[in-house]
Symmetry: C2
Subunit: 115 residues, 2 copies
DNA sequence: ACTATATGCATAAGAAACTGATGTATGAAA
DNA sequence: TTTCATACATCAGTTTCTTATGCATATAGT
């Protein structure tokens, strides 16, 4: 996607949600999953992803587990209990944000949406 | 809203869209309109709004017109021709961003959405 | 008289979250 | 041997916000 600056603020939510669905993932896998799910339109850069993962870990929302695969090191991330709670919180924030966005942007809107 | 950091990147779009619907607005009016449309959940702060307006004006997307109302100065903003084009561009960016967000976040999603 | 609130503009320090470049390392393909 | 893919990471710089502050007018409350 040409202008990706809308990601700001939603990257953490994306990470947490993917980890809720996938149990455990490593960084590179996350970038590939997002690219795949969005047909290449959203590309999570490493410079954004890794600091975000480290921060979530520092906040106690993610735990890590290093693993060796084919002479390559992988750092797997999983949700902690706090992380599992936070997913729902972040998701409802995102949902209400999108609703509010629709209220601002859609002049005559029926209360219909679905994130 | 408690965590407003999702706004990042969408403020310009909001401003442009409101001006497309309202022909001309002044800064304070924009903050009030957004607050009203979102039942107080999104509050555009002045520290975010005014720099954003100035930037859009510097980019040639908005034009201004000072007006005196009740001994108070108002600075009205309107879309320029470039601004009118940019609204559509920004809106389709926003729409595809939300679509992509849904693809990432909603596991089994029907291609149904509406921003 | 004083204070708070509303209207209306604006700037500025600091924080947060990015981009884009760079670095290390392994391995396969061209 | 150069590029690409996999896999981690850091860092300078930029953008975009928050929070505080400032100026100015007017009304309402205490």
């Amino acid at each position: 996607m040409s202008n990706n600056n809308l990601i700001k603020g939603s990257l953490q939510t994306i990470i947490l949600k993917l980890l809720e669905e996938n149990e455990r993932m490593y960084g590179y896998e996350i970038t590939q999953r997002v690219k795949e799910l969005t047909a290449g339109e959203i590309k999570i850069t490493e410079g954004a992803l890794y600091p975000a993962l480290h921060k979530l870990e520092a906040e106690g929302l993610l735990s890590t587990e290093i693993q060796q695969v084919d002479n390559r090191v992988r750092k797997y991330y999983s949700l902690t209990k706090d992380g599992q709670k936070e997913v729902h919180s972040k998701m409802s924030e995102l949902q209400s944000f999108v609703e509010n966005l629709q209220r601002i942007i859609n002049p005559g809107l029926k209360p219909d949406f679905s994130l």
